[in-house]
Amino acid sequence: MSSPAVATSLPDKRAKPKARLSGAPIRRLLAPAVIFLLVWMIVPLVMTLYYAFRRYNLMMPEITGFAGITNFKLMFTDPTFWDSLINTLILVGASLMITVTVGLGLAILFNRTFVGRGVARTLAIAPFFVMPVVTGLIWKNMLFHPVYGLLAWVFRHLGLNPIDWLAQYPMLSIIIMVSWEWIPFALLILLTGLQSLPEDQIEAVRLDGANKWQEFRHIVVPHLGQVLYVVVMLESIFFLTSFAEIYTTTSGGPGTATTNLPYYIYQSAFFQYDIGISSAAAIGAVILANIFSIFLIRFVAGNLNAGSRR
């Protein structure tokens, strides 16, 4: 806060070299990064935007031309789109809740000292290093499978009927898989947050007469605030684009039970061969992601600023 005030009160003499400093060389040095961003992000985005307003179906290559808002109209009247939108929100919301809660619990656990902590921590983090496609295949064939799956085996040993998870509880299964993958991420970030909590604050609050719960509620949680925002923001952006887990297990089914927005886009393009609608849906996904990130980035930026002034 104080730096602008200082800058304006300084005489011109000192302000000038600073202005010259922000000139050409900085722009030239920034150029590679900016060009990279343009080519890899802006160009595809603009192309998607372009196709969203074109008639462009691979099955009917002879029909071309400007489509106006037809693609969007079709998309909005497609019940599958609305299903996919709701599914996306359910997937993001539920996975966020599970990863943050379980991640926080595990972080508190791993913040304590116990025998074998190093090994346990490595194991707990391991799922994060498994590729999403592999995650999907492992869960489908080795865990969820009603005949060969580990869960089925456990159920049988308990005298229960094995559940065909992916058929009976498709969305729950997807949520479980995504959460399994991302709990380690929440755990890692929250654990570093916990470890950065000054010991003396805990001691101060204990002397102030707080019990364990009050200590957690009034000191640990506020301290973790910023870290939690980071976890929620990054995870929600990643959850919005979940695809591989669905592709390798349920393929969006049964019906549209697990079709989320990315899978809807994929289906439109590679099953219906309608690039126009697919692009329109992609634009919808971009807008959704932006709504999320604008809110969250503002939140985080506000918190980071507040934090840096500490």
Binding site: P198, D200, Q201, E203, A204, V205, R206, L207, D208, G209, A210, N211, Q214, H218, I219, P222, H223, G225, A306, R309, R310
Partner: protein
């Protein structure tokens, strides 16, 4: 307001093959008076902070007992000891306003809001932070944070205050001001206070009684003046007072009053001399403070209790001048009046006030003098 009693308190952090020699704090015995200001002082790692943390309950005690007003609190949780602590880092809660920081402990105790407000405001007025109550700690200067930390302790009206080097993060000038204010505050509140510092000036100016520690052991517990005049051993003698006391190795003469060496001869009189009677002919370490050496003009006829040597270093401080003089093999610091012109390389004669001399056993390093009973 309480009497704190520490009985044979020992802290041993354990570890492989640790025994009594590894004690971080070794048989600490102290009984405070009600409302006393006790300063724990010593070099880093001497166990002073560990002792304080044991009183707070943040550190368990390996053996012994701690009681407050006769109630044994050795096994009582920190939150139930009714103790407030000011941390070196202040440990303010960063997400709470100054008001909430101070009110926090009271809220946990479910004290009515009206009383919380009045107690916080009263403390804020005393500490001159009433205008900062709405701010967050990050928007405060170091000195203001320090006051908030004090305020947080005061509003609780605890039985005992603990302060762990609360001034060490302040700049020199602020430290002197705050030092005086803490003393004033203590006189006003009359709460038994333990204050940890490594700065002997802080200890001397603030403490009603000072506990000097080294390597986990208490070296001496006494009032500032008596620590200065009757240090129990060489460590205390060297630790208390700036610049440090000079130590000269010598021998107690057969006349039982004279301390000699090839380069000096000092004669003790009165009770000080009597104390040496049983040690005639033994090696001793003689302690003399720089302020008890005075300049002797070359033509002065006095030649008793004189150290003569060559000036090696001259350090004018304005009000006084510090000089370092080489007396035979001994390097001696003396404090002389600043109007005297002394240059490096000059031959100089220093007169020694033998009524202030200290004499220590050369091997045990304990004082050979008998301190008069405390008043």
């Amino acid at each position: 307001m309480a009497i704190v009693e520490l009985k044979d308190v020992v802290k041993n952090y354990g570890g492989k093959g640790s025994d009594a020699a590894d004690n971080a704090v070794d048989s600490f015995n102290l009984t405070t008076k009600d409302g006393e200001f006790i300063v724990l002082v010593g070099p880093s790692g001497c166990g002073k902070t560990t002792t304080m943390r044991m009183i707070a309950g943040l550190e368990s005690i390996s053996s012994g007992s701690i009681s407050i007003d006769g109630r044994d609190v050795s096994q009582v949780a920190p939150k139930d000891r009714d103790i407030a602590m000011v941390f070196q880092s202040y440990a303010l809660y960063p997400h709470m306003s100054v008001f909430e920081n101070m009110a926090f402990a009271l809220r946990l105790k479910k004290i009515p809001d009206a009383e919380i407000t009045s107690r916080v405001q009263e403390a804020a007025k005393v500490l001159d932070i009433a205008h900062l109550l709405e701010r967050k700690p990050r928007a405060l200067s170091g000195g203001q944070r320090q006051r908030v930390a004090l305020g947080r302790a005061i509003v609780r009206q605890p039985q005992v205050f603990l302060m762990d080097e609360p001034l060490s993060n302040l700049d020199a000038k602020l430290r002197v001001d705050t030092r005086a204010e803490i003393v004033k505050l203590h006189r006003k509140l009359g709460v038994t206070t333990f204050y940890v510092t490594h700065d002997q000036v802080e200890a001397m100016t603030m403490g009603q009684r000072i506990v000097v520690m080294l390597n986990g052991k208490i070296q001496q517990i006494d009032t500032p003046q008596r620590l200065y005049e009757w240090p129990a051993n060489i460590f205390v003698a060297g630790f208390i007072g700036t610049p440090s006391m000079n130590f000269l190795r010598g021998r107690i003469g057969v006349d039982k009053r004279t301390l000699t060496d090839d380069h000096f001869s000092l004669t003790l009189t009165g009770a000080r001399g009597d104390a040496l009677a049983t040690h005639a002919g033994t090696e001793a370490v003689i302690g003399v403070r720089p302020e008890h050496l005075s300049y002797l003009a070359a033509d002065d006829p006095v030649n008793e209790n004189v150290l003569s040597g060559i000036v090696e270093v001259v350090e004018p401080l304005g009000s006084v001048t510090m000089i370092q003089v080489q007396v035979g093999p001994h390097r001696v610091t003396a404090q002389i009046e600043s109007h005297l012109t002394v240059a490096m390389g000059d031959a100089i004669r220093l007169r020694c006030r033998t009524d202030k001399l200290q004499v220590f056993n050369a091997t045990s390093e304990q004082s050979l003098l008998k301190a008069p009973a405390a008043a």
